[in-house]
Every structure is written in C-alpha cells, then in structure tokens.
Symmetry: C2
Subunit: 643 residues, 2 copies
C-alpha cells in the first residue's frame, strides 16, 4: 500500500481540462499542481501570506484549515472548502478546482470598515504594535524632562504612560544607542519593550494547547499570520497520572506537588519556545504575545493555583475570567517580553481549550444547530447555534490520545493511523515507516474495521467463538495470552519495535470507555436541547489526531451518532487553531470571554439518566447496521472505503 | 547644664492662672501638663488618634509637627502652632496655652463635604480599603461559576475584576477556611490581598525617606494616622561614596555595581520593615502601602534604573513620573502585599524628597512668597507661592548630615547638638550622655558660636594670630597638630570615646562648602524670581537634624540669609512628613504629581553668576554683624540665646 494519493485538478470553466497526478501524502496541493502541470501562482513564496494560490476542494476528504487559510481566506471561504494550495497538505485522493487569484482587498481588515469586514477574513488585530520613532534625549536647554517623557512625546497619544520596571530599565540605553532611533512595542497600548534601532520586522507570538496528555504549540508572525514553527510533545506531567482526576489527586492539598506539576509544564513551555525560536531563527525576546489554552486543571496548574477544589464536587474552578499577565510572572523565562493570555473557562471541566474550539469552529455564528466534539483526555461537547450554546464534558480518559494503550502513541512518525481489512489487515503508518505504535485515529479505525469483519463483537469482546469462520490470516492474528486475548496489527518482522504491534482486549476496553463517554455527552445534550439527529446539521470532530480521522469508523464504533457522513467533519486540532486565532486577533480573544459567559454548562454527573445512556453507548455497531443513513455518501465513501 | 526645660501653661481665659514646671527634654507636653497640675484630656490614650489634648504654643521654639498633628489638627492649625500635647516632645523652654477640647466633627473628612473640608484637616484617603464579606463557594445548583466570581459578587462594583497571580492563589483557601467569612483588601479598587476571617483592623503602611546618608522610616496605622514605630539608620550604600556624585560614579556604566547599591538599599528597607513590624507587634503582611521618597539617584538605584546619565550633563532622570508597583517587583520581600509608591521627581537633582517637602510645607498654597530649604547631602531650595514655584539644587555634600566630618554623626544618642560659649564651651548632648560625636545642628552651632567669639575667622580659618586675646580656657582648646589646627569640643575625660571630640580645620571647610552651596541656591532663586529679603515671608528649614536647629546660628554661618529670626522656622524632616502625608492620602500623592509638572527648575550649573555667589557666600558673619535685622527678636532670643 503505497503512501501516495491521486489529485485531480479541475478548471473552473468546465471539466474538459482535468489533469491528474499521483503524489506522496504530506506534500502540498501547490506541489501537486506543479507536478500535474497546472499553473497555480504563489506570490508570497509559499508562506501563506497571500491569496494567489487559492483553490477549492471539490471532493475527497477536506483537510482541516490552517491558521493561514483562516487569516487569508476568512471563515466563510474556509467553510466552503476553499484553501491555500501552498499550506494544504494532501491526505487523500482529492478533486481540486484551481482558481484565478481573487482581487486583493488590502491585507488588514479593520472592523470599522463594513465593506471589508463583510469579506469575512479574520481581523488581524493581535494587540501588539511596534512603533519606530526618533526620540531626542534631554538637553541643557530642556533639562526639566526625562528619557521616558522624551520617548513618550514621539509616540501616539493612545500609548499609556504606565510603565513596568523591566521596560523602564531599558530606556536610557535604548534611547542613546542609535541617536534616539528606537522601536517601542506595545500590547493593548501599554509599552512592553523598547529597543534601539528599527526592529519593527520582528513581531512574533506563540499559541499553545496544553492537553493533559500532550502539548502542542505554534510560532506565528503576528504581522502576517504566517506559521514559522510547529512544536509539540508529551506533557511531562504525565508521569504523575494519565488522566485529569489522577493529576488532580496528585496535587490535591499539597502545594509542593502542585509546584512540581507546574514546574514541569513551565519547563516544557520554555523548551518549546526555545525550540520554535531556533527552528524559525528568531530571537525569543521578539515573542510578544503567547496565548495558552488548556483544560481547567492544566490552566490552574500553570498559574500555580490550587486544583484541590477542581477535583471535588461541584468541581468549581478558582477563576474563569480571561487572564493576561507578563511572562515573567508565570514565569516563562524564555519569552521575557511576552504577555501571556489565557482564554476563559466555562466550568470546572469545560476549560479554555473548549473555548478555543468554539472560536475556531464559529459554532456560535451558525444558523443551524451544530455540535462540536473535542476529543482529548476529556471529551467536551458543545451543541447549539447562534441562538444558544450548551456544553458538557465527558470523562473520556486518554485512550484516544494513544495513552494507557499498550502500543499507543501520539499521531507522529511511525504511528498506525489508518487500517484496511479484507482477508488480512493493512496498516497505513505516518511517514510510511515501520510501525512503532498506534494513534487515536488508528485505534478508531482498527476497532471499527475489526467490528465490521466480526473479529470484534458488538460488546467489544475479541471473538472467542467460531473463529474458524474468519479468514485464516485474520484468525491467525487473534492470539490468546495469559493476560487475555489480543489482535496482532503488525507482525514482529514488519514492526519498528522488537515485538509485534498488537491491540489488546484491555486496549479495546479503554477505547470503549472513551468513546461511550463522548457519545453519551452528545446524546445527553441532544436530549436537554431537544435536538433529534435529523436536526443536527453538522458534527465537527476536533482533536489532536493529526491530519486524518475516518468519520465512518467513528460512527461505526459509536463515538458519534449515526448521521449522514457528509454531516460529519473533522476540524483538526481546533483548540490550537482557536488559540492561534486569539493570538492573531484581540477581537477573537475578547469574543471568547463573552461566549464563556453566555454558554450554558450541563453537568453530566448531576444527571441521573447519564449512567444509563453511558452503559447503552458502550457497544459498537455490528456489521448488520449500515453507517451513514443519508443516501449521499459518495465523496466520503470514495475515500475512506477505498484501498 | 541639666537637660531639662521649663514649660509654662497659660489658661485661655487669661494669664492669671499660669502654672510652670521643669521637665526633662524629650518628654511630652502632656506629661509636662500632668507635672504642672494642668488637666489636659487625652481620650485616645496618648496615641494621637483624637484632638482632645490640643494645645497652642505661645512662645519658645515651636516643635515640628508630627503626622498626627497634621492628621488631627489640619494644616492651618499646625501652621498657627497648635499641637497635640500627647505627641509633642518638649525641646526648649516654652509657653503653652491649654485649650478645651474642640468639638469633634467626625474622624474622617471627605473632600466632597465642603463644610468639613473647610476644617482643613488632612483627608485620610490612603487608597487602601479592607472589605469584610461573607462569600459562598460554588454549589451543585450553581456550578457554572468560580471562587473568584463568588467573591467578587459580594464586593462593591467599584472593585476591579483584574487579578494578580499572588492574590488568585490565595482565594480558594481563604474563601473556604472560615465558611466564606473573609477580608478583601484593595488599593485604588484593585484587590491586593484576601484573608480568611475579619482582618479589617490590620491596615498599615510605611513611609521612607531614603537619603544619600541616612534612611528613616515610619510605620503608620492607615486607618487612624497613628505612628506605630520609627526606624532609621545609615544608608548602607555609604561605603561606596559619601555624596551623590561619588555614588553615581561608582555605579556608572556598570550594571553589577548598580545591583550592589540596589541590593544594599533593599536589604536595609527589608530590615527596617521587619524592625518596625516587631516594634509595633504587627504582621508585615498587613503593610499594604509604602511611600518612598528620596533624591533622583536613590530613586533610580532602588528601582534598578541606570544612573549613568543622572551623573552626566544635563543630568536628566530616566523617569520623573509618580510610580506605583507591587513590592514583589522591587523586590521588598518583607512586605509581600504592599504596593510601593514613589513620589515624582522634578529634575535630575530635584528628587522625590523635595516633592515631599513641598507637600509637607504646603508652600504651593501660600499667599506670600516663602522658601523652603531641605538640607541633606544635596540642598534643595524651593521658592515661591501659590502663583509660582521655582526650585534649585545646591551640591552641599554630606557635612551637615555629620558625614565626612572627623567626629560627625547623625542626630542620635551621644551627638552634640547644641553649643554655648562663654569663657569656655558647654555642649548639649542628645540623651545627656557623654558625647561620642557631633551632628549637623551641633556643627552649625559650633561654627556660629566660635565665629562669635572669634576663635573662627570670618574666612573660616581657625584663629592663628593673637590667640593670647582669647579666654584661657578657649585658647587651650585650640590645638595645632601635624594635620592642621583643631578645636577640642569635649575633653578626653568627658568624652564617650577614647579620645577628645574635636572640630578640625578640614571639618570646618566641609561645613563651609555645604552652607555656602545652600546659601547661594537661595540667593540665586531670589535673583531669578526678583525676591528681595524684605519680600520673603518665611524661610522654612527642613532636614534630618532631629528636633532642634538654632536658627540664629544658621544665619550667623550664612547658611540662610540674615532675616528677622521669627521668619525662620524649622520644619523637621519635612521629606519624611511629606511621605507620610502621601501614605495617608491619595489626594496628597496625586497633588505631588501635579506640582512636579508645574514647578520650574533652575539649573545652577548652567548659571555663570552662580560661581561668584558661591565664593562670596563662603565667609561667616563676623561678630560685628548683628543677626536678625528685625526688631522683634524676643521669643527666639529668649530660647536660643539662653543658657
């Protein structure tokens, strides 16, 4: 199974000029265009800084948008499956319409300009401004003044006179180093940095999604929205407990242990800031804004705020407000000049990460009722429309992030992310290398496909009876061990480890607990809001699965309801995308606070009917149940049912 | 020469009921009253918290007011020589009018109430408020909330929603420790502390005057204005240079040395905070506001701001603005919850200490032209009225603070502070102990009295010719040593040291440089503002001389112009008093900023005529020149010419 995909380019004038090419997965649509001999312009040099390479996905799996797609194209076009060819990595066979460049309407859109705002591109108002000025130092003739006043006098009136010690200490040197030529940086009109010379080009920010299991971050050029580096890794707190409750239990009533967890997270962030700066070859002192999202527990731990009561009924957070503080207060020593912004929290188990997903998906703006499902160690479900939003949090555990699974791993190089089963099993591995483990999307796919071929019973038990009815190759993969039954996904000789990659009965039970928690959350909100399946316009799955999730498999294992597959979309790591949006736009960051105050939280634990729904949701769909009750399955089927 | 003074009490009804007593210097007027059998009420228990012991000084030296005098009596009464008997230490023979208690008009005066504001007592609006509230913690029924929001909901609307990490970390514990009963402290409506239980009684502040030579501080009850402890000592930076310029030279272009100076000052402040808290038996965590005044150099050093350019023409400060920052930012670790406020600076050599003197003397409110002279390591002179204020700074050096003088010392136990010369010399020593040195007021007195008896020539040279004309006892005190001539003030057998206490020729030269710098500053402003001596209503001398300065001697040595002595007053450590006022009143603190922007700075160095004035001012008045050209010298003469 080669890791290549087929891309077909359609001319906007008609289908007569179709050109196809085969290209490695992970390459961009722009590269595919070049291979296919289709001319797509990329004026900015493939940096996501312009709109000239704009294309529209006609069929096939639509890749989640990048922050550059959102910045350059706006939410409406992104939702209509427009993408920047230079930023979009091909993940499956796709049909693409190449488009003539849309007329540029100016880079930044100000909210006051209605006609431009209608364009629906994201407002780039990150709050960070750099002013290049020429200040004079005090003279004999005008001796009754100060460096600070001289500097202020050449800055606009909106700049605040307030000053921090850190900034003040830099002023006398900076104002004199280059004869008064200097750059003053403000965040929301308060001065946060002064430098000698013209340093206006260097204006960077970072967005972080701090999950219970993993941490991911992006370094972004605040002027252009360009992504300069991606970083990520396991949350180093994980050794103190894999899920939220065990993490809280560790630090409960114990300041020192809280400090330990906090130190680990801060160290990781500092390392990521260093790594990202090195990758992008920038000075971390030029990172001026950092947006952090994460669940309430991560949020509190990083702030050094007691999580004891987050872990005790009624699981109340200490604070829900949006926060903005200097990096040195945390401290994040690698980004000395940054302001760190935390998105708000809705309730104890509905944290800033969920708010970021709400921002990224714009569900608050929807005419129809939609639901977003953020699959992490907790699974948050948001349902509603522009009229009303409700939210709940389902305790999924870390299984779908690859944790507490024998060969589980993040969606990184060597992870099985896709599975096909016929007479035997075929695994797609990220990077096309020997498999070293299985990630969340692989686990979902494996369970679904194994259930389809009846290796897995609806109850979630690996088949024990009548194994002789199975194809031989599959049968041989079912192994009984002293610890229970398991299914060999990759044989030892093809594995990247020194053992076969297997899925154990215990692994499957973890997946079941996770998926039924999330499924129950969705059903619960449907009941509370009186939203039958037919009314649900879209289920937006979010989470750190990488580029791919098989929505059909997600339905098959009853992670999400059995809806027409075209109503099920995958939005990628929406929490990180939301953090990036708040990084690039104070409008978005402020919106998050308003939304957090309006959303209604449904506490699942307080609902007696939840347990019944949860138990009922444990089973998988059997081979007899068809997936996707809509008749229009063609595009999804073409891809996920293929190879 | 016994260290007692005679106090006479006069009845307000007439002089018929005069009662006198002799009492130790340093006792209070209230104690004198009790000894004399005069009934003076002190309802508050002699704590300066009420007005019942109010008296008026009729004649004799008027002691400088304390902050309690100002708080309880107001500026107008203080200027009319009213004092609180319980707070006023007797310093000289005095005639006092005991008064029936003035009707109380309520303790706090709000500026909005015109009739009370007319009363002219100081507005107690320190900016620190303590709210005792009962908060509920989040419940199952109301789960979509947070500790922070629950606490805010029981606080007034004016309290800001902004929060620091330090405060936030205390909330979950404090809200739960006593069933929601808690005390929330704000400074200018921003929360700076939360505590369990009712802690409203504990609301303290400190005022510091950080001089080049010494540091003094006061711990004050912010609710009542009561002084709880006085602390002070030598500025431990002094080992790196006695005067400002040598201190600046040490730290110039050298961050590490700047950090050394800063560390020494901060350590001293931390120690003073600890000492004051121990003296008053309070918890330093209940110190919520600290006001610091000091010259530009001290101000910048404590902030860790480069003083390089403060020491180079045009001697511009880095910042002049009023500053307010959390103690942890400095850091002042002993006062974890305090906000530290720095009064503003006028110009490089006119610092926050001068602004504090302007506040304390209310010269900005004067109908007539007055001048205030703050005698420290630099001598600042402010001249003007409510219409206009000008200021200059004269480089006096530390001599009048007792530094760089062989036996020089602060005005503390064992210091010669007063001298009488007839056939021989008689020294008054603070605490009536054997002398161990001489302080500023003693130096002024010594030079003046020695000039009067012609031991000292007008030029400042110790007499070499015709010594045989001097009384024998004085003649014997003039000793020629290999290092030059000196005058023995206290013989070895009466000294508290193992050597005689002497005044050297070099000492006298230091005093001359200091006094002529200050004198020239006054003359310079008189010239610039066109203020002849006759127009000058008052010369207010300020400085850390302790309780006493002989104004006649100050005129004699030409420290200040030869004005009628009743026009020369001593305001004590007005810088510390101004800091105390800004501590107790945000109205005063805000006023300081306005004034700092309005005052006009005269740069002496930029005036070519200054050198001539300075040289001319070096000499003393000879015995032939009479001091105090006014005819009405009676009260001053009675005291300072006595014994």
């Amino acid at each position: 199974m080669a890791d290549t995909v087929s891309i077909t380019f359609v001319d906007p004038e008609g289908d007569s000029k179709e050109r196809s090419t085969t290209i490695d997965r992970g390459k961009t649509l722009l590269e595919a265009g070049h291979t296919a001999g289709v001319e797509i312009e990329a004026t900015c040099g493939e940096r996501g800084r312009c709109r000239t390479c704009r294309v529209k996905i006609i069929s096939g799996e639509v890749p989640p948008p990048t922050i550059q797609d959102t910045v350059q194209l706006g939410h409406e076009e992104v939702r209509e499956n427009f993408r920047l060819a230079c930023q979009t990595k091909v993940i499956a066979d796709t049909k693409v319409m190449a488009l003539p460049p849309k007329a540029e309407v100016g880079h930044q859109i100000l909210s006051s300009d209605k006609s431009l705002a209608d364009d629906d591109r994201m407002i780039l108002d990150c709050g960070v401004d750099k002013y290049v000025v020429k200040a004079t130092t005090p003279t004999e003739e005008h001796h009754q003044t100060s460096d600070w006043e001289e500097m202020l006098s050449v800055l606009p009136d909106n700049v605040s006179r307030d000053v921090s010690l850190e900034v003040l200490r830099k002023v006398p040197g900076a104002i004199r180093a280059q004869s008064g030529n200097m750059t003053v940086t403000t965040f929301n009109d308060r001065i946060i940095d002064v430098e000698a010379g013209d340093m206006s080009e260097h204006k960077y920010g970072m967005a972080f999604d701090i999950g219970t299991t993993s941490i991911v971050g992006t370094l972004i050029n605040l002027e252009t929205g360009e992504t300069l580096a991606d970083v990520g890794g396991v949350n180093p707190q994980a050794v103190y407990g894999g899920d939220l409750m065990s993490r809280i239990a560790y630090a409960q009533f114990d300041e020192k242990k809280l400090a330990t967890l906090r130190g680990r997270a801060l160290n990781a962030l500092n390392d990521f800031i260093r790594d990202a700066s090195q990758q992008a070859e920038i000075d971390a002192a030029h990172i001026y804004k950092i947006v952090i999202v994460g669940n309430t527990c991560m949020h509190h731990i990083i702030l050094g705020v007691d999580v004891t009561y987050v872990g005790l009924a009624p699981y109340a957070p200490v604070i829900r407000d949006t926060l903005s503080l200097p990096a040195r207060d945390l401290p994040l020593k690698r980004a000395v000049n940054a302001q760190v912004c935390f998105l708000p929290i809705v309730a104890g188990f509905v944290g800033a990460d969920t708010m970021a997903c709400v921002l990224a998906t714009r569900i608050y703006d929807s005419e129809e009722t939609r639901t977003l499902v953020d699959i992490g160690t907790n699974g948050e479900v948001v349902m509603g429309s522009k009229d009303r939003l409700m939210v709940c949090s389902a305790p999924a555990g870390p299984a779908l992030e690859g944790a507490q699974i024998r060969h589980g791993m993040r969606g990184a190089l060597g992870a099985i992310e896709k599975i096909a089963i016929d007479d035997d099993i075929a695994c797609t591995v990220i990077g096309d290398t020997p498999a070293i483990g299985i990630c969340g999307s692989g686990l979902i796919d494996a369970c679904a496909k194994l259930a389809t071929v009846e290796v897995l019973e609806k109850s979630g038990r690996l088949r024990r009876k009548n194994r002789e009815d199975l194809p031989e190759l599959l049968r041989n993969r079912l192994v009984d061990t002293p610890h229970g039954c398991e299914f060999i996904l990759v044989d030892e000789d093809k594995s990247g480890k020194e053992e076969p990659i297997a899925l154990t009965q215990a692994d499957i039970r973890q997946v079941q607990l996770a998926k039924s928690a999330i499924y129950s959350g969705i059903v619960m909100l449907q009941q509370v809001m009186d939203v039958p399946d037919e009314v649900l316009e879209e289920v937006m799955m979010c989470g750190g699965f990488g580029n791919y999730i098989n929505t059909e498999s997600a339905v098959k294992i009853r992670l999400i309801p059995n809806l027409p597959l075209e109503k099920i979309t995958y939005s990628g790591n929406a929490a990180l995308m939301g953090a990036q949006m708040a990084l690039l736009s104070e409008t978005e960051r402020n919106r998050a606070f308003e939304l957090s105050q309006q959303m209604e939280h449904v506490a699942l634990a307080a609902r007696p009917e939840f347990q019944d729904i949860f138990v009922e949701a444990m089973s998988f769909l059997g081979p007899e149940t068809s997936v996707g009750w809509s008749t229009d399955l063609a595009p999804q089927e073409a891809v996920s049912g293929g190879d």
